[in-house]
Symmetry: C2
Subunit: 215 residues, 2 copies
């Protein structure tokens, strides 16, 4: 149990698909709040977070700094050197819970994976990291399943919507305002975001242009 949890994170210019509704500063603060929610979930099951960031930023947690463009390459240098199990979990999963992560790291298979929405990979758990390599571009979920198969690793797919739900676009905020319990939900609410329902469809709306919260 208690693996290291690698959390890739981009402190500067994150979440560009939210540009229509959040300013650059707000997007940075929001990404940071989501990261903190993920760190809390990871710590909840006694995993040690290691933030794999594209630049150094102010944080009390351990950081590895990597070049912006090559997440897969950097992780593939880290994995063979790892002693013990490794969890790789994305920073934009603010619905993550300790309970869900526990299901991942309790797998009886050689590894476990949680697909992201839209063909991506949100979480990978590796009992023997040296035997696997990552490839995060495009349809990474199918690629990771294939890499596991070619490496002869049994791979459990964990059926979790809280780990499946990455927050990239405005519609995704519906999920956060419906199910979130942490800092990133509070950050959105402090900015004035609320759920709306028109014609039976649920959406989000920014009610007031309140001053940016001190997050």
């Amino acid at each position: 149990m208690c693996p290291h949890a690698l959390i890739p994170f981009k402190p500067a210019g994150p979440k560009s698909r939210l540009s229509d509704i959040l300013s650059p500063e707000e997007r940075e603060a929001f990404a940071r709040a989501m990261l903190e929610d993920v760190i809390a979930a990871v710590k909840d099951v006694n995993c040690s977070p290691v933030i794999v960031a594209t630049e150094l930023f102010d944080s009390e947690d351990i950081q590895i700094t990597i070049p912006d463009k090559d997440l897969s390459g950097t992780l593939n240098e880290v994995l063979p050197q790892s002693i013990g199990t490794i969890l790789i979990i994305m920073a934009d999963l603010p619905l993550a819970t300790g309970e869900a992560i526990k299901r991942v790291i309790s797998t009886k298979s050689d590894m476990a994976i949680v697909p992201g929405r839209g063909g991506g990979t949100n979480v990978i758990f590796l009992k023997d990291p040296a035997k696997f390599h990552v490839d995060y571009y495009g349809m990474s979920y199918l690629k990771h399943k294939k890499i596991a198969e070619e490496a002869g690793l049994s791979c459990e797919v964990i059926d979790s919507f809280v780990l499946h739900t990455d927050i990239d676009e405005k519609e995704d905020l519906v999920e956060l305002l419906t199910h979130g319990t942490g800092k990133s939900r509070k950050y959105l609410e402090d900015l004035g975001f609320v759920l709306t329902a028109a014609n039976g469809r649920v959406g989000v709306e920014r009610k007031s242009s309140a001053p940016a919260p001190s997050a």
Copy 2:
């Protein structure tokens, strides 16, 4: 165990948000294929499907026919008369598996619920149906949680992406072509739909205008 599984279904004119990529006939056949995937999952855990349809259609399974506009009202007439446990599961969940449904019906709480994407409710399991009523319009997930609370029913939220993923829009087809294993995935593939990746984003594309498959 072995509850009746009520499956609301609209045989005529379903899935209008797929109109851009599927003809009316194709949408009907696709909705039917998704229903069959849900029925298969339900039967996999020995639940008895009862299709709650807006009109009579050709099927070997038990059907209840209800007025188109009042799903909640009709279900609320059925629930108090039910003997034993009831599962209500939507027909547009083609990723549903017996394993996921088993997690729902194995709850130790008075009831269990699986939220749908966008604030909806995809699955409800009731140990004592007479004590609950449904309200499917708008943000039904939050409404159902509140109804449970007001009725004094303990309610477990089941964390499942296969039951969370309802298929309504073109982007949702990515999920079906990535994770699906049943008839509705095959139907899409027979129509020529494939996954595509451009600029790291995964989408779907209809490759050929092949003749409609005999589904």
